[in-house]
């Protein structure tokens, strides 16, 4: 029964993802065919099947890659979510896993399939967590980290609260009650957002970063699409979602310090990520797991809630052919072209160039 349920969960995610990416799916081939010469490597000689899964964000590249590597089939199961992706990868079913958070120490230990040299996390996808809202008469909203923490911890319950009004002097805020919309399933977006709140609003937000939403009493919805649907359906709603999936919803401008509110843009995310992210020293050569210090983000050019997603793979492959395929694919994702494809298909931000160079170096270490 459980497997049936997981399968149905998969089915809906796939269905909604297809629906969401429907309009975007025509672009990758165009992009790919327009820039075959830009890709330094010729992928046409590759053949085989890459099996992977996890974070739904990372499905953005498959079509574009297989368009130029005709012999390669990529089965990326985005219904798994980050947790399921890592679990299946640890069990040996995947060539790599897509995950919104790097491997924990325990997960690293559990990944015995990689041999003594362990596994590496490569940051390959960058996006932002958008604060989406639906409030009649308010088209522009500024929210500081502290106010966000108050709203999401249910300390503020109406839209005309002084804390919100102080940050939005020009907006006509109604007395509508606030409905906070959160995720009912575990999610990397939730983890990033709670991490952001716990770092930037320590006094208000006393919960640790977690992939499960910590507070009862919110409107909890299944999946990013569930949040987008619920926020759009109600009046006075506010929620958080991966920016690439918010559709027509309005998103608030966010600030860490309470001034210089910044609206989402891919460039603002990239510049925030450059300022805040540093490579964690895990003791594994080539590992590029990032630690994001949200408090370091400031200024009018950086969007404060960047969301990074990793490709997780072994440093040692048992099968040389799978190694070649996987590193070729991830290498392409970590190239300038791959990043542009993600930007075009999913509205994602680009990983800073310095990090892209490091990804290439890390992939070269994979045996």
């Amino acid at each position: 029964m459980k497997f049936k349920n997981v399968a149905t969960a998969g089915a809906i995610l796939v269905a909604s993802a297809i629906a969401l990416s429907g309009c975007a799916s025509s672009t990758p081939e165009a992009t790919a065919s327009a820039t075959p010469s830009a890709a330094a490597v010729d992928y046409s000689s590759l053949s085989g099947t890459i099996t992977a899964g996890g974070s739904s964000a990372q499905a953005a590249w498959t079509t574009a890659f297989t368009a130029q590597a005709k012999g390669v089939t990529i089965n990326y199961d985005k219904s798994q979510g980050s947790g399921g992706g890592v679990t299946n990868w640890t069990a040996g079913s995947y060539d790599f896993a897509g995950s919104d958070s790097p491997l924990t120490k325990d997960q690293q230990t559990a990944a015995t399939l990689c041999g003594p040299n362990g596994a590496i996390n490569l940051p390959i996808y960058l996006d932002g967590v958008a604060i989406v809202y639906n409030l009649a008469g308010v088209d522009k909203l500024n929210l500081s980290a502290e106010t966000l923490a108050k709203i999401f911890s249910l300390a503020i319950t109406t839209w005309n609260d002084p804390a919100i009004a102080a940050e939005n002097p020009d907006a006509k805020l109604p007395a509508t009650p606030i409905t906070t919309v959160t995720r009912s399933d575990g999610s990397g977006t939730t983890k990033t957002f709670t991490n952001f709140l716990s770092q930037t609003a320590k006094d208000v937000w006393t919960y640790p970063a977690d992939s499960a939403w910590p507070i009862a009493g919110t409107s909890a919805q299944k999946g990013t699409s569930g949040i987008v649907q619920a926020v759009g359906a109600g009046d006075g709603t506010i929620g958080y979602a991966d920016h690439s999936a918010i559709g027509e919803l309005k998103a608030a401008s966010v600030s860490v310090k309470g001034k210089d509110f910044v609206a989402f843009s891919p460039e603002a995310v990239t510049s925030a990520f450059e300022a805040a992210a540093s490579t964690t020293d895990t003791g594994i050569k080539g590992d590029l797991a990032q630690t994001v210090d949200f408090t370091a983000i400031s200024g009018t050019e950086a969007y404060p809630i960047p969301l990074v997603s990793y490709g997780i793979l072994c440093t040692t492959y048992k099968d040389a052919k799978q190694k070649e395929l996987t590193t070729a694919y991830l290498g392409w994702i970590g190239s300038d072209v791959g990043q542009k494809v993600a930007a075009k298909n999913a509205g994602a931000a680009q990983i800073p160039e310095k990090l892209l160079t490091e990804i290439t170096a890390s992939l070269a270490l994979v045996k």
Partner: protein
Amino acid sequence: MSDRTSVESVSSTQPRQNTKSDSTTPLGGGTPAPAASPKRASRVRPADAIFRGLSTGSAIFIMVILAGVALFLIVQGMPAIVANWQSNPELNDGFTSAFDSFWAYVGPLLFGTLWSAAIALVLGAPIGIGIALFISHYAPRRLAGLLGYVVDLLAAVPSVVFGLWGIIVIRPFLLPLSDWLNTYLGWIPIFGGQVTTTGSTILAGAVVLAVMILPIITSISREIFLQTPRLHEEAALALGATRWEMVRLAVFPYAKSGIVSATLLGLGRALGETMAIAMIISPAVIVSFLVVTEGQNSQTIAANIALNFPIASTLQRQALIGTGLLLFVVSLAVNMIARSIVSRGSSKTGGKKKARPKPLVVPTGDATSTLTRDLVADKNTAAGPEGASA
């Protein structure tokens, strides 16, 4: 004679009932089989042995599967059930962190499962039985066939589709009703609380659940209603009962156990429903009776497993499997109760005719109806032996 054939023609829709009546009344259709069997018994064909082996194997197989599932749930769930939830670091992280023991975690979930299924049943069962009654006793024959087909078709709709329908159609549709209930009937505890703005309530979930359990309740009730002895119905009508009185005096008493078991099987379906619930309801692992709020809807076991399974660590996964074990036990209990009611009911109606159940509603002060009931009962006791001896 004509009476008996008409009864037979109606009851032939259900084979189980057929064999029961075979034992009491030697019918035309039953006689050739015993006569032919001695001939066949002398020659054992290989096909017989193979088929017998296959069907016996299938029967054993299903028992093995059930036992295997139970064993899997117990073995996998036990570590989390006996674990110390207060000190275990794995359980103090993420979605299990707020709970002191397995029972504190599974308690609200079990409540939510039963509560949502109960609301669905209250909404769905009367409609399901009403549809069944319409099909069996009111609708013109052609419409009845079509309607039965359509209701059965409802069972073929995937629950994901029901979930989407719930989110996109039922949630906004129920918003005004939720507001109204909260404003004017908010003094009744279950309609109180902070009213929803997106419609993501247990009420919306239960309405969709009610639609989902309609087919099972309708099809079982319909079969039972169709088995009502024509003799009883005609007797009631002959005594001047209206159509509704006939249904109340002849059909309902006969079908009482069938209705109960149909309802319980519907309950079993509602208990295990996952995807539609996970998609529609905004859940919280709490015990709450409120039905029109956003943040205070009790979560169900099945939906909780579906939502948290992907992010669960090993022990958390085992905790989820432990909650699954409890759902398994509850569903099994509900189904067993339903089956036992069915078998008790059928042995009453099929075997001992004298021990007929009393009418559900005994009308008072209505001379005709009381008379009808008595006469029907008399006719009934008389009909049993008469039919047997004929």
